[in-house]
Symmetry: C2
Subunit: 331 residues, 2 copies
């Protein structure tokens, strides 16, 4: 496949390298000249069987592409969509940003009637480091990669991208854009907010920082992410994040009530138990005991319930009629 990757940060750069290694004809572009230069140097020494190149302009990158992978930060997505529209691009388009409802609205706005087909995507992976220098073709091995799906989704396009994504080692999770945004608010955006609040609450007290160990290291790891990136992520999903954050605050306030009772040691275990149970369930279903493979029809009617049940697609059949999938509740 001829693929253009627009935006060569951590995720875009990693997608580009992974696609090149899988044998696709890949061309990258980044609006930032320094990033472009770094990528051009890397391209010059890319392995013979995983060659890729950097275009001098976005137009040059997309003009011959069959698929455009939009890997720019959320605020720049509209610019790329407009460019695709202006150049008369007619192929597949997908993205990797962390909020989906706003991107889908944007695509409906800017790409409708252009002949381009948009499928919204989001690989659930990352690092606290940024930029092309951190790019790694192995970043997607085993990761969940949401591809948005609804009753009107063109299934040919969805399955093409699903096949591509599974070939990178990722698990494709079918979800509606709203379902995605609600879920990532709880499992990604709120953890970023909590990490920053915990780190900030030390007030830089040297004794506290000297005593900080495993629970602080892990609980605040993502506070090392650049504030602008996290702000774009959380701010772009503001309504869902606010709702998930309200639920966390409510629980912490309930903990404060117990802490001021006569015997908090007796009453706190019941408060800790639901989180303990949820964490253990996650560990079992996602890490320790992944469910066995099943075969499902490649239709929205079969795939949306799969995603809602926490399942994923691991392969698309050659005839595009079925997918290989896994469902934790059928383990």
């Amino acid at each position: 496949m001829r693929i253009a990757v627009i935006g060569l940060g951590l995720i875009g750069g990693s997608v580009l390298l992974a696609l090149a290694e899988t044998g696709h004809e890949v061309v990258g572009y980044d609006a930032d000249p320094f990033t472009r230069e770094a990528a051009t140097s890397a391209a010059a020494v890319s392995p013979r069987d995983a060659r890729w190149r950097v275009a001098h302009s976005a137009t040059e990158a997309v003009v011959q592409a069959e698929l455009v992978m939009v890997a720019v930060p959320l605020p720049a997505v509209a610019v790329v969509f407009d460019l695709l529209s202006d150049t008369g691009y007619q192929g597949l388009v997908t993205d990797v940003t962390s909020v989906k409802q706003s991107v889908c609205r944007l695509a409906a706005d800017r790409l409708a009637g252009t002949g381009a087909t948009f499928i919204a995507g989001h690989p659930m992976t990352g690092r606290e480091t940024s930029g092309f220098a951190s790019a790694d073709s192995a970043l997607f091995a085993g990761c969940a990669w949401v591809l948005c799906l609804g009753p009107d989704t063109p299934m040919d396009a969805w399955l093409s991208i699903a096949a591509l994504v599974t070939s990178l080692g990722a698990r494709v999770v079918p979800a509606t854009a709203a379902g995605h945004d609600r879920a990532v608010a709880a499992v990604s955006h709120v953890p970023h907010l909590a990490a920053a609040a915990i780190a900030a609450s030390t007030n830089g007290d040297p004794l506290a920082l000297a005593l900080a160990a495993g629970s602080f290291r892990d609980g605040t790891r993502v506070a090392a992410t650049r504030p602008e990136l996290v702000a774009a992520m959380c701010g772009g999903n503001a309504a869902a994040v606010d709702e998930a954050l309200a639920s966390v605050i409510e629980q912490l306030m309930a903990a404060r009530v117990i802490l001021s009772e006569d015997d908090p040691v007796a009453d706190l275990p019941a408060w800790f138990t639901p989180g303990h149970v949820a964490r253990a369930a996650w560990q079992v279903s996602q890490i320790d005991r992944p469910p066995p493979a099943i075969t499902l029809p490649a239709t929205p009617e079969a795939l949306l319930p799969l995603g809602a049940a926490g399942g994923w697609v691991t392969a698309v059949s050659d005839d595009r009629q079925t997918v290989t999938a896994a469902r934790p509740d059928q383990a």
Copy 2:
């Protein structure tokens, strides 16, 4: 040194193994017969140069000891103190529980006038697994180990335990009991509460759990700890935890205000910055660039400011007059 370790859970078991490896004559005891049995089996196959044994009773364990390491959960500490008092024990006593003011009050209550000398301690290490089966003599390498210090602390006793603890590879952080409790509330107890609240807020939604990746994995790791253990830890330090938790809740509520504004993406970076800065400062001072060694007098007047500045002791001189130390602000 002849050392008795009372309580053979994760920390007690690890201390016992580490002390035995360092060449001390160690005897362990646990009130739970199953733990005692597991430890006795392990003792039988301990390496020839790191032999240790399990006593049949707590009295038998402590009768010949020069130091008793109390490694039982907080609610059981009083029982061990009473036993020491009843047996007429006259040596050194230290503990490894995660709250220090309440343990110091208990020691003043139960050990005063017995001839035993108590120095409160707390190794800042752990795992989300529990029990003797998880014990590991390497658990203390590089970890901060608080030894409480005040103007009236018998320095001979403090330095004996400090020398022992540094020989296990730990960094001794001198701190008042109140300073310790305030610091660990912020860097350990609140992260445990936040982890549980984040994990619980998924409500077991299968889609959310399928999309959970690095930020969820790390941000909720300690939610896997047994609820009773975390409850004892947080509940035993209720006042300090409540204060630190109030600060985190206040910050999260400020984030909610920004999230409901017109342009959260523009205003959130300033909210994220203090946590980002604190996390980066911690990473540099504790991990990436540990400060060079300095020499200090072995007095409370020199050691308490060291601890308050985030510094630690790495060795005690043979004549007990000075310590080798490190202070991040003198890096």
